[in-house]
């Protein structure tokens, strides 16, 4: 076992060549995941609400988006944006942007499902009471339903964020310099300690993801106390 290989490159795993070069490693993975979840939240919110719309056209747009994206491997989606951005835009996008767009579009579909389920899970009485006080449908959504539903969804969002953090490893395939790529770089350079390197990388991902999973479980248990219920 040659753990010194890991030890010598540990700062490179954590933030790449950061002070002297572009940020990379675990830091880049987390940045990618944070930007991804932020973008995906808005797309997912729109998709989820469109999915609940009574308008057939609006609804079917959302259904097609959600079903197609959920039916296709993320890797395929990354390739779509990577190889076809040049065809559509006439110029190539940086790898980081391609990966980020793919993550946003991909995660957006899953968040759409979460939003839909979260809104449906609220008791019908909430909407009826809100409409009864004279709010319009949009106002009732905006001021009564969504504030409650979104709060209940926070644990699911955190779980989705954990998934996305794991999925950022796929950005390696098109050449984004994140944690997985730093690992393969060090592995290719040293060629002597693949077991140690990949165990270390797995543990780094694990620490980030497990802390978040744990937090989301705590939150879920905490929130269950304050949820509006049918009686």
């Amino acid at each position: 076992m040659q753990w010194d290989v890991v030890w010598n490159n540990f700062d490179y795993f954590l933030w790449g060549a950061f002070p002297d070069g572009p940020i990379g490693g675990l830091a880049a993975s987390i940045i990618l995941a944070l930007l991804g979840i932020f973008g995906a939240f808005w797309i997912g919110l729109a998709a989820g609400l469109m999915r609940l719309s009574r308008n057939k056209v609006v609804k079917s747009v959302s259904v097609v988006y959600i079903e197609v994206i959920r039916g296709v491997p993320l890797l395929m989606l990354i390739f779509w944006f990577y190889f076809l951005a040049p065809v559509v835009l006439g110029r190539s996008l940086p790898e980081f942007h391609c990966a980020l767009i793919a993550f946003i579009v991909f995660t957006g579909a899953y968040i759409g499902e979460i939003v839909k389920a979260g809104v449906i899970a609220l008791p019908r009485g909430q909407m009826e009471a809100a409409r009864g006080t004279g709010l319009s449908h949009v106002q009732a959504m905006r001021y009564v339903i969504l504030p409650q539903a979104l709060r209940n969804m926070i644990p699911s969002f955190v779980n989705q964020f954990v998934s996305l953090t794991k999925d950022t490893s796929l950005a390696y395939i098109i050449g984004v310099n994140e944690l997985t790529r730093t690992a393969t770089q060090v592995n290719n350079r040293t060629l002597s300690a693949p077991t140690e390197i990949f165990i270390t990388i797995a543990i780094l991902y694990f620490v980030v993801c497990y802390v978040l999973t744990w937090a989301s479980r705590r939150m879920e248990a905490h929130m269950a106390k304050y949820q509006a219920r049918d009686r």
């Binding site: 079903e67 197609v68 039916g71 390739f79 065809v87 190539s92 077991t195 990949f198 165990i199 993801c209």
Partner: protein, 246 residues
């Protein structure tokens, strides 16, 4: 697997000639078919092992024997919270120094990429499957067990005739959707050189520059598989799930 640098070339939008025949027939069509075969093959093998391993891990978690419980807990949490890609790399690049030499030699003589792919897909998905099975069994109210014990059934009989038949109805849909996830995740094994559908689509892209057609065909094939599976889950839910009422 770094991307080709030739991608940087400017591709003229207006002059892009679609050539669907190229990817649907002849050599490249054959590649797609071979790719689909490998994708289905690696998925089928992994699904079988996943169900076995997942059941074992779930049973260990529910046993009253502490070391088993801890092992199962650690297994599930560790493999669920690390990326599949890292696990694939670990089994492919890193497993030789922890496996016995005899196993390594056997693996190198056979299709090592395929085996590493199966192992990583199996272990990764089994962690999720174990949780689904555990959740399914836990969702059966405790008084079902108590009531069946009270009628004179033994513990095993109670599980065999009362708990499991109910639990399976709840467990099967999530297990099918985990299998579907596995099929989609199997696209990652292209990174270690298993020639699955995604690998072939990318290969055609690099040989012919007709990535648009190749990726469209591959995407549609994945989509068909997913839609068929979702359809099966929906049918299943319609026929069986509604009958359970507490």
């Amino acid at each position: 697997m770094p991307a080709r640098s030739s991608r940087k070339q400017r591709i003229d939008v207006l002059n892009y000639q679609f050539d669907w025949n190229l990817v649907l027939s002849g050599q490249y069509g054959q590649w797609i078919i071979d790719g689909v075969k490998i994708t289905l093959e690696i998925s089928a093998v992994s699904i079988v092992f996943t169900m076995l391993l997942g059941t074992i891990v779930a049973v260990m978690r529910m046993s009253k024997f502490k070391p088993f419980e801890w092992f199962s807990f650690a297994f599930v949490e560790f493999f669920r919270n690390t990326p599949l890609l890292i696990q694939i790399f670990f089994w492919y690049f890193g497993s030789y120094s922890i496996l016995p030499d005899a196993v390594n030699e056997w693996l190198y003589d056979h299709d090592f990429e395929f085996a590493a792919g199966v192992i990583s897909l199996t272990v990764y998905t089994a962690a999720f499957v174990a949780e689904e099975i555990r959740a399914g069994i836990n969702s059966i109210p405790k008084n079902q067990l108590e009531a069946s014990r009270a009628t004179g059934l033994s513990f095993l009989q109670a599980y065999r005739y009362v708990i499991l038949p109910q639990a399976f109805r709840i467990i099967i849909p999530p297990l099918i959707s985990q299998s579907l996830n596995l099929i989609k995740n199997s696209s990652l094994v292209m990174t270690i050189g298993v020639m699955d559908l995604t690998y072939m689509a990318r290969q055609i892209e690099s040989y012919t520059f007709h990535g648009f057609e190749a990726f469209t065909v591959a995407t549609l094939i994945y989509l068909c598989i997913s839609l068929v599976v979702s359809f099966m889950i929906n049918m299943y839910n319609k026929h069986f799930l509604l009958q359970i009422k507490y």
